[in-house]
């Protein structure tokens, strides 16, 4: 925290020597040992540490995988399998990297929802939040690039879908598309540049993470009360050992879940089609992205209508990117002076709705948009016919027997007839995804800006130590 004096005292000759030249040990000491941290952080605040561990795991396993991987369309699929089969512990390294991508993004989602709930994006932490959004974007890009590398069916056709999105941009779309692909279609040159970028981006993430931690250490941690630290003695404890042990415990619990996937269900978070080698001539029946991109995919597909001169395809792309862009504006959209939703009884309900909307969007992204959720009535049979006199018409039936009888009679009388299904009206995944997309944007653009002006906060404590000990408590005992 800025303004707090360094307590580092070098004891050895070498550390004294180093401290007067490059005070890096002092920096580490002030940042991760004697850093004053609010006493009241709950387990939702351990995901920062968990994410640091995830990044390290991904980089270490990724560097080893890159030693054995071959980025050509003929050999990529086989080389990933050879890693699993012939490299010592290659199966473990590859499973960790593959499951690790999912766990990393799972953790980042929890971390972001925590930030949304406790108002961690508000002054004085706007830059911290923006840097986090940049990290999130880089992670999405890295995950997408990495999913391409095993060169399975979903790698190729998923990449095609995403790259085609850029084609919807007016004027420059096609140029961007061929620039991304490095040619007229997704091929060897695309795979090689994706591999190169997949190796580059994690180090950019690591760089932004350093800025993110720096931006955290200037104002200090937010906390569940949303109150800033007023009294370092009463409100905070040093990061070490208090939070190293608490984060350490949470990290190990997280690793238990991680290991359960790695050892018992390494493929369950992926798609089976990605174990079919990529073939540009065969398109999978149902292209779905990885689970963590499903909400955005659902938003993309929810837009099936034009608005004015903007066509549905472009509009879908605008909404999809808009759903992330709106996060960058959040610090200025939320007008409430109270940070934590603990003390915002109405906002809390809307936040819960927002989490549900995101989960439902994921569900919609995984399903065919035309599939019904709630059917209104039964499907009926319809016979469309042209009778002997050349008259066209159609008749609807409930049962198969009379329908087929009518069809056969019409045909026998010299006409033509065919039998089909008249699908009953239903509330479909498309409708759900449209409703949830509406809520997603309304939450940021309408609810948060206006609610902040009207809502009456409830029960906000005066300070962190008051919230721990109660507002009526006598003077708080200082931390040890």
């Amino acid at each position: 925290m800025s303004g707090h004096e360094s307590t580092y005292e070098p004891k050895l000759g070498i550390t004294k020597w180093l401290d007067s030249r490059l005070p890096i040990v002092r920096l580490a000491h002030d940042s991760f040992v004697d850093f004053p941290t609010p006493k009241n952080l709950n387990y939702w605040y351990t995901f920062g540490g968990i994410l640091a561990v995830c990044l390290a795991i991904q980089i270490i396993t990724g560097v080893v995988l890159a030693m054995h991987y071959t980025a050509t369309v003929d050999e990529a699929f086989g080389s990933v399998e050879r890693i699993m089969r012939d490299v010592p512990f290659g199966w473990l390294i590859r499973n960790i990297h593959m499951v690790g991508a999912s766990m990393f993004i799972l953790a980042v989602y929890v971390h972001m929802f925590r930030g949304l709930y406790y108002g961690s994006y508000k002054a004085p932490r706007e830059v911290l939040w923006l840097l986090g959004c940049v990290i999130f974007l880089l992670m999405m890009a890295t995950a997408f690039l990495g999913y391409m590398l095993p060169w399975g069916q979903m790698s190729l056709h998923g990449a095609n879908v995403i790259i085609n999105l850029f084609g919807a941009i007016p004027l420059v779309g096609e140029s961007i598309q061929s620039w991304l692909m490095g040619g007229p279609s997704v091929g060897n040159q695309t795979l090689q540049r994706f591999f190169s970028l997949h190796y580059l981006l994690p180090f950019m993430i690591a760089g932004v993470v350093i800025l993110h931690i720096w931006a955290l250490h200037v104002p200090g941690n937010n906390n569940p009360t949303g109150k800033e630290v007023q009294d370092v003695e009463k409100d905070t404890v040093p990061f070490h050992p208090y939070y190293t042990v608490k984060d350490g415990f949470a990290i190990v619990v997280f690793l238990i879940i991680f290991a359960a996937f790695v050892f018992y269900a390494p493929n369950v978070l992926g798609h089976a089609d990605n174990y079919v080698e990529a073939n540009p001539l065969v398109t999978p029946a149902h292209i779905v992205p990885e689970w963590y991109l499903l909400p955005f995919y659902a938003i993309l597909r929810a837009i099936t209508f034009n608005i004015g001169p903007i066509e549905a395809k472009l509009l879908g792309v605008i909404f999809m990117f808009g759903s992330i862009a709106v996060l960058f504006l959040l610090p200025w959209l939320d007008t409430s002076k109270v940070k934590s939703m603990r003390y915002r009884p109405v906002a809390k309900q809307f936040f819960l709705g927002f989490v549900v909307a995101c989960l439902l969007l994921s569900w919609c992204g995984a399903e065919n948009p035309d599939n019904p959720i709630i059917k209104m009535g039964d499907d009926k049979l319809v016979v469309t016919y042209t009778d002997a006199a050349g008259l066209e018409g159609s008749r609807v039936f409930e049962e198969y027997a009379p329908a087929s009888q009518f069809r056969d009679e019409t045909a026998a009388a010299g006409g033509t007839a065919s039998l089909g299904i008249q699908v009953a009206p239903a509330f479909r995944f498309l409708h759900l995804s449209q409703l949830m997309t509406l809520y997603y944007f309304a939450y940021f653009l309408i609810i948060l800006p206006f609610l902040g002006l009207r809502e009456r906060p409830k029960g906000e404590p005066d300070s962190i130590h008051h919230s721990i000990l109660g507002n009526d408590a006598p003077a708080a005992a200082p931390a040890e």
């Binding site: 199966w91 989602y109 997280f254 359960a260 174990y275 689970w291 569900w363 721990i468």
Partner: protein
Amino acid sequence: MNLLRPLFAGLGALALTLAADAAGGAKKAEAPEGGWSFAKVPAGQLDKESLQRGFQVYKEVCAACHGMELLSYRNLGEKGGPFYSDEYPNANDNPLVKAIAAEYEILDAAPDEFGDPVYRPAVPADTFRSPYPNDQAARAANGGALPPDLSVITKARGKGAEGDGATYVYALMKGYPDPDKIKSTTDAEGNPVNYLEFDKDYTVGTLTQPLGVYYNPYFAGDTTPQWEGDPRHKPYGGFIAMPPQLPADRVEYMDGTEATTAQMAYDVAMFLHWAGDPKQTQRKSLALPVMLYLVFLSILLWFSYKRIWRNVAH
């Protein structure tokens, strides 16, 4: 319970993935009764005898059309494989594996001193010989259909849970309708027509089986164009170019096991499951120690946390 929250989040992600299904109208495959031995938690293992029988089925039946280009003969004698033996930790020395490899004549990668191609018996280090020189030859020999490579077929089917792919292979191989139920007639021009009659629940009608393909309820596809009956209740599945392969006694098992269709389907599914992930034995043996270590470490950290924070209200 704060502790359980990350766990619930993980389970939520899992549930979402499970919802992502794309099975194209096929019937849901059911695992054999009692489940797969290798899918048991915490330390399921493959059934070695079944693996050996499954290799026999692959070798005598499947290998005629399906390659396994990611496998080498040595894999058969490696730890967890069907012919692993403690006496030969290096599979290349295993006489059984050597003998299996030597049955196949392959084209050596290097030509002889005159530049002519060299054909020689395979050694354990060689990859499985493919039945066809290329995809075009494979299609030409199979009525235009390409028999897929079986190296990772069990990972390429199902939803990614342990045993999903094996369950698919098992259900598909024994899922063909009873040959007695396929009736034949001739159409107006005298061409033979094969058909199946359905009379179960709402699925009542006749399914015509086009020549050269075979109905299988577990194969993803669409039966609508061939279905004479209520289109709202068409039969599951689709038409596969592979004829039924495992009638009873198709192979004579060396260990004397009775070669029923279900037994052969079970064994070959077990073998293909091993082939898709030959290092799974190591994975499953390492699983329990890792989990126990992490649980133990988390308990230690929990008590450390309690002790360090004991005098701090928070």
